[in-house]
């Protein structure tokens, strides 16, 4: 099945991004396709390379960058990003900033859009 993923909550503050990450990993392991991952609301904070969690904790942005390195399109909403000071300079490699149109395209081009948020 072809999935797109929408993540709406900030990192560490909320488990939405962690659940999404596990979902993506499990889906890939089962041979499903991830069409794209879209970050909105405080979700845009998930891919800032400025985060520096303690060494015994997961690095959420680095994890997403590794998913992106597999060729999965990871998009941060530009409107939500601008509001929160997330710029192309601060996002991790293998992610990009673009418009909400990308969410529409991901959603209509997938069998399922799965939202992680409150």
């Amino acid at each position: 099945m072809k999935f797109s993923i929408l993540i709406l909550e900030g990192p560490y503050h909320h488990e939405a991004g962690d659940s999404a990450y596990r979902f993506v990993e499990a889906a890939l392991r089962k041979g499903h396709e991830i069409r794209g991952i879209f970050f909105y609301h405080d979700g845009v904070y998930n891919v800032t390379k400025l985060m520096e969690p303690p060494s015994d904790d997961r690095n959420i942005a680095k994890r997403w960058s590794e998913i992106g390195a597999k060729g999965i399109d990871i998009v941060v909403c530009i409107a939500a990003a601008k509001r929160r000071g997330i710029t192309p300079e601060v996002i991790v490699p293998n992610t990009r900033i673009s418009g909400l149109g990308q969410l529409v395209e991901m959603a209509v081009d997938s069998d399922r859009l799965v939202t992680f948020g409150d």
């Binding site: 909400l100 149109g101 959603a107 209509v108 859009l113 939202t115």
Partner: protein, 124 residues
């Protein structure tokens, strides 16, 4: 868009109060953008989200933007089907005459059926 120009049925599910969090406001921004993509769009307002449609809001003392008037243009942006849940209005002492738009009032018992008809649900 993909070559086959598939039209998807997309419903915006609004459940949160207009202020206190940004979900409703950024959810509105999604509606305005998606209107440009020629999909079959609808929106439903239930729970505290019905307050977003209330006439006569004044957020000046909150120091945040008052955006209820923007709901009036949703139809021009291609969101022609707008529903509001009757029970959510009643629980908050509201009637459709208190709202900035005139959506179709439906009982909560119809919501599942409407959602079932959609390809994509976006919840804010």
């Amino acid at each position: 868009m993909s070559d086959e120009e598939k039209v998807s049925k997309i419903m915006f599910v609004n459940r949160r109060a207009p202020h206190g969090s940004i979900y409703a406001y950024e959810g509105l921004e999604v509606k305005l953008i998606m209107g440009a993509y020629d999909q079959d769009l609808s929106a439903i307002f239930m729970d505290d989200a019905v307050l977003a449609l209330k006439k006569g809001q004044d957020t000046s003392e909150l120091g945040v933007k008052e955006f209820s008037a923007t709901f009036r243009v949703l139809e021009d942006y291609g969101i022609e089907k707008i529903y509001v849940v009757e029970e959510s209005l009643k629980e908050r002492g509201l009637g459709v005459e208190d709202l900035v738009i005139q959506p179709e009032v439906i009982p909560i018992s119809r919501v599942a059926e409407l959602m079932e008809q959609q390809d994509i649900l976006l919840s804010f």
